[in-house]
Point group: C3
Amino acid sequence: MGERKKTTIILFSGDYDKAMAAYIIGNGAAAYEHDVTIFHTFWGLNTLRKNHNVPLKKNMLEKMFANMMPNQADKLGLSKMNFGGLGRRLLKKVIKKHNALELPQLIELAQQQGVQLVACTMTMDLLGIKKEELMEPLQFAGVSAYLGEAEEGNINLFI
Amino acid sequence: MGERKKTTIILFSGDYDKAMAAYIIGNGAAAYEHDVTIFHTFWGLNTLRKNHNVPLKKNMLEKMFANMMPNQADKLGLSKMNFGGLGRRLLKKVIKKHNALELPQLIELAQQQGVQLVACTMTMDLLGIKKEELMEPLQFAGVSAYLGEAEEGNINLFI
Amino acid sequence: MGERKKTTIILFSGDYDKAMAAYIIGNGAAAYEHDVTIFHTFWGLNTLRKNHNVPLKKNMLEKMFANMMPNQADKLGLSKMNFGGLGRRLLKKVIKKHNALELPQLIELAQQQGVQLVACTMTMDLLGIKKEELMEPLQFAGVSAYLGEAEEGNINLFI
């Protein structure tokens, strides 16, 4: 009795604003005593990259995507009106003004609240992203782990 | 007994076609006797803006996003093949030809059917959107109100 | 007892990477013994187009969208870093290198696994897409059919 509710979010998008939405919902659900999992796949993996370059051996193909993508949450663009990063900087300015949390802080809060952060291993391979480049603690899993959680989920979203 | 089913939709996107999809699903679910709530956040708030400019005192930061965004549902762009508004005009033409509903009419229908339209107060602050600029009736709420609805939802979508 | 679980996915997007995500989740859920339905609407319909042009009588309006859109799954662009098709070609290269499945193969697998593929009739009309242009087997339905499935769904996603 009193079983905990569950929220799962697939973060596919690599946009600053969409990642914010994912983490705001995730943090809210955790505060509501839900078990929360955020699965990062495709461009959403960039949210988890450490904010410094990790020297790694990569082949040419692996380098191509990885080097073209933003290498930290704080450098993601907006899904709308990004204007080459100007929109994100403007958004960050208003976030500060309202004492709201920026994306890196939202991620930190999620970690503190025990939100499970998962990186999709299949798309890590495709985009040439290595474990060493991603923040910790982090779980590594595939679609079947996602399905195992989501089929019991009260709230399942794809962002 | 005979408890009503529930559908919640987060409309994050500010694209005409995605807003159409949200309202078509929302209206369909209302016709199916679901309790339906559409939460408008980030660019989705533009769907709710009145189609005339409301004179308001805003500071510079507040003006920046608000003035760059389309100020009514009817002016949103398409997520694909918008070509500077041409795509939307073409879509509106075929909608008329098929006697289907344009976005403003879909919103009106939702209001008539008792779909709860909610504006996310946190992103209103961030994007500098004031209550006076948004259509009525409308509720104002945050992520916890969303979670309260969605955790009981049969269908929860993020659009 | 032992009632089967259900997954429904609305594929709204016409991006190669998002369609891949939809089919990977759908195939995974089918392997997990879920009843799976993928509803293709708006740009997601392009995923289902046959990879050759079908000669059809269309009026001017119908021709406009249909001719501007990619006419097969294999020609869809990426949602990020497409660079005029270069990104997709790069992604396909890494998919092959990792012996993963490309989009057309993911669709074939879904058909073999009994995933129900549905095309949204309303948006077929709007975008000027005819039944003859779409692959088989395929069901044709509208929003009410979607709702009938989704309200019983364990996992419902909008992609």
